[in-house]
Assembly symmetry: C2
Homo-oligomer: 114 residues x 2
DNA sequence: CCGGATCCCTTCTGATACTG
DNA sequence: CAGTATCAGAAGGGATCCGG
């Protein structure tokens, strides 16, 4: 039987990484860690993402307990997504990685284009 | 043109995550952050990994400057992999994520099996 | 506005055999 | 032991149309 998908590894690092595994999850969490946002706001703030992937990733994160879906009663359905208390325990680590990533981008981009 | 692969996102978090993107990279870095290891040692210490993926991921990490390949002169080729100085700047963050992952595993496993 | 359902192509991975 | 080459299957992701 193949190791289908992101099966739980004995390595806790993989367990953590599996949470943010997905083309846009990093960006989504980045946004949501700054402030709660509505679905359409998220979509607009992430150029290039398709509706399909946005929803899919949001559902994954909800399932994993990192974010929660708040349905505001209104004429056209309005939904807000925000970090859960649990998600807030993860956020600082992502923020640290984010800071490292900034340095990494500096380090790799100097090959300057244009 | 599709957003092929892990194209650099404006989001630095994604930039960092792209480094550890790959089925076994988390585990590999986990091992190597504990101690330098030879290729065959790594393979043996990671059940389920294929030679192909091990080499592939190692090469990715070398290319990204996270680990380095040290060739020890010997009869049968002996190679050792270890974190670079740059890789050491990333390690602490991965370790933090790892700690979080441990908690996460505790949180999700209680569904107990067996 | 929010989300589901298809179709399809690309990439990732696993299995295996082979070279130095 | 370290690494390459090829093949095939599985998963991820994009485009698009449909419905509440």
């Amino acid at each position: 039987m193949p190791v289908s998908k992101k099966e739980i590894s004995p390595c806790p690092l993989d367990a953590a990484l599996s949470i943010v595994d997905g083309r846009w999850k990093g960006t989504i969490l980045w946004r949501l860690s700054q402030q709660p946002m509505r679905t359409s706001e998220l979509r607009r703030s992430i150029p290039g993402i398709t509706e399909r992937m946005l929803i899919r990733h949001l559902q994954d994160l909800v399932r994993d307990g990192i974010i929660e879906r708040i349905e505001e009663l209104a004429t056209p359905t309005r939904v807000r997504y925000q970090l859960t208390a649990y998600g807030l325990t993860l956020a600082p680590h992502l923020e640290a990685l984010c800071a490292w990533g900034r340095i990494h981008l500096e380090r790799t981009k100097p090959v300057n284009q244009k």
